[in-house]
């Protein structure tokens, strides 16, 4: 994907890129430096103030310099078949993005960039950890035009850069009101747990009159509370899902805005998550597997990017799913773990199943947070059957349908060995 190149062609991104990138990196450098300064226990208030000031100035300088250098050496060019980006000062890197490999094109406005009217373009391709290419920063309108162009070309349409295709008409599917997202966050178990832990830490500290205990408890748990709120509420603020000719469009964010386009054909699978409290209220969260998205999240792809609907009722969820993964609801086979698998999941084994339908394979797992996953047969990548020594002892085996990294995992855990083998064989004929 990268090859040395000496030719310098193409245009640069917006000149303010260096500044914005520098501020972003500077903030990161500041956070990194401040940790090491505050962890030094010696010295008085002056040394801390001096240290913090030094970290701010130092981080900013490092960031600005790095930002300017990286902007100066970044150029991009669009030709008939691909987008090429060359970057790098000492190590030259050139990345070619053939249009037909593009999985999704997103537009993001990080807060600082948004203030000066700039935005970044994120292009996802399938496979690998470096499958995402980010082009930052360009004026918002330019990024919109680029996205339209790339999406059109990704669908094999011959459009020139001059005759931009007009953005197709979009119809609104739903807009999730912020208060509903806040309510949903307040009613999630991890938030409640973090708040309880925070209260416990404060109470313990007050009772024992030990300021260190308060600090030791407040910092991590308070941090967790802030992080949960920031992640859920700020990222999903004003979440709007709309439908266009080429795919679904998601727009979200309070400080940093993100606008994602998910082409219909690129949806690899859907996960329906029903956390403990939400399930009693009939609320669900929809997450989507798109090749390339997970590279930005943790192992399970739990990042804001893969959220299709942060909070919804089953009726709307069903309608959206039907639009993305058309499937007949007839059941072909249904397998549950045997009683012999209690060893592996004493409670959970009753709540797991895997079901094959004509067009999709569906699995469900979990009794605290229930996760149901759907994967169309023609999108599943491979099928695995496996058995460890303990499973062999209990006469059970696991069958798994592989999908690109993301929130969707279709597993038939600890089925009866014969049933697992049968499911594996039948699934092969279906995909």
């Amino acid at each position: 994907m990268s090859e040395p190149t000496t030719e310098v062609t193409g245009r640069r991104t917006h000149p303010l890129t260096g500044l914005v990138q520098g501020l972003l990196w500077g903030a990161a450098a500041f956070v990194a430096l401040i940790g090491s300064i505050l962890s030094r226990r010696d010295g008085g208030v002056e040394s801390i103030v001096f240290g913090v000031g030094g970290a701010a100035v130092g981080g900013l300088l490092i960031g600005l310099l790095a930002g300017y250098v990286s902007w100066y050496f970044t150029r991009f060019v669009i030709d008939a078949t691909e987008l090429r980006i060359t970057r790098g000062f000492l190590t030259k890197q050139s990345r070619r993005i053939p249009f037909e490999r593009i999985q999704s094109v997103d537009l993001a406005e990080p807060f600082i960039a948004r203030i000066v009217g700039l935005a970044e373009l994120r292009i996802d391709m399938a496979g690998g950890n470096e499958s995402r290419t980010t082009l930052r920063f360009l004026p918002l309108d330019d990024v919109r035009d680029l996205r339209r162009l790339l999406l059109a070309r990704a669908h094999g349409e011959e459009v020139s850069e001059d005759a931009m295709p007009v953005d197709d008409q979009r119809s609104l599917i739903t807009r999730v009101p912020p208060q509903r997202i806040i309510l949903g966050t307040l009613l999630s178990l991890d938030f409640l747990g973090a708040v309880l832990a925070l209260i416990a830490a404060v109470v313990t500290g007050i009772v024992s009159k030990q300021i260190l205990i308060v600090l030791g408890g407040v910092l991590p748990f308070g941090g967790a509370v802030v992080q949960i709120v920031a992640k859920r509420v700020l990222e999903q603020w004003d979440f709007t899902l709309s439908r266009g000719a080429r795919g679904l469009r998601i727009e979200r964010g309070l400080l940093s805005r993100t606008s994602q386009t998910i082409p219909y054909a690129r949806v690899q699978g859907i996960a329906i998550k029903e956390p403990f409290v939400w399930r009693r209220l009939g609320w669900q969260r929809l997450e989507v597997d798109v090749a390339g998205y997970a590279a930005q999240g943790d192992d399970n792809g739990n990042n804001g990017t893969s959220t299709l609907l942060p909070i919804t009722d089953p009726a709307l969820a069903e309608a959206v799913i039907a639009e993305l993964v058309p499937s007949r609801t007839d059941r072909v086979t249904l397998d549950r773990p045997t009683r012999r698998s209690r060893l592996f999941a004493p409670i959970g084994w009753r709540f797991r199943w895997i079901e094959a339908r004509t067009d999709v394979v569906v699995s469900q797992i979990g009794w605290i947070e229930r996760t149901t996953c759907l994967v169309p047969h023609h999108k599943s990548q491979s099928v695995e059957l496996r058995q460890g020594p303990l499973q062999r002892w209990r006469g059970v085996a696991t069958v798994e349908v592989h999908t690109p990294p993301g929130p969707v995992d279709v597993d038939g855990d600890h089925l009866d060995a014969g049933a697992a083998r049968r499911f594996w064989e039948e699934q092969l004929t279906r995909i």
Binding site: Q268, H378, Q381, S382, E384, A397
Partner: protein, 168 residues
């Protein structure tokens, strides 16, 4: 473990597993067991040279020797467990003695094929073939494929993948 009557990990009816090269066993013994053996010998010499503390290197030597024997036996058992077969629509790969695995990859899901061979592998005329799909869980790597067969496999998989390409 893995008695012949255990048909859970057999190929589909009518197919036979192609086993990987015995050179893989030799190579793994060479890179795994031999260094342990050298460590064991070095520890025995140390024990002879410092008789007052002899027990410490002696215990180390016993552990190293035990590990070497274990790796020696594991290399062959594990090598025997590897197998692959190409049927009309899928590539099937099986592996593992304790943790057994059987994965089937339809040719059309292939993104690209890697053939890798380090200097030692080249010396023994083997290579590892990896079939990549859009899913990282597929992990379809076959170690110890004879070089000619590896090239043939790569060409055939690429050809089949292109003719059926559904991709993602």
């Amino acid at each position: 473990m893995g008695s012949p009557s255990d048909q859970l990990f057999d190929p589909l009816p009518g197919d036979e597993w192609t086993r990987v090269s015995p050179a893989l066993t030799t190579l793994r013994r060479l890179t795994g067991a031999l260094p342990l053996l050298i460590i064991a010998i070095a520890l025995v010499i140390t024990a002879v040279l410092i008789p007052s503390w002899a027990w410490l290197p002696a215990v180390g030597a016993a552990i190293a020797l035990g590990s070497a024997v274990w790796v020696w036996r594991w290399a062959e058992r594990n090598r025997r467990s590897w197998g692959y077969t190409e049927n009309a629509e899928d590539l099937l790969i099986t592996s593992g003695v304790w943790f057994r695995r059987l994965v089937a990859v339809p040719y059309g899901r292939m993104q690209f094929v890697d053939v890798q061979a380090g200097p030692l592998q080249r010396l023994y005329g083997i290579a590892s073939v990896t079939l990549h799909t859009a899913s990282s869980e597929t992990a379809a790597t076959i170690p110890g494929v004879p070089s000619d067969e590896a090239t043939r496999l790569r060409n055939r998989l690429t050809e089949l993948g292109e003719s059926r390409g559904a991709g993602v």
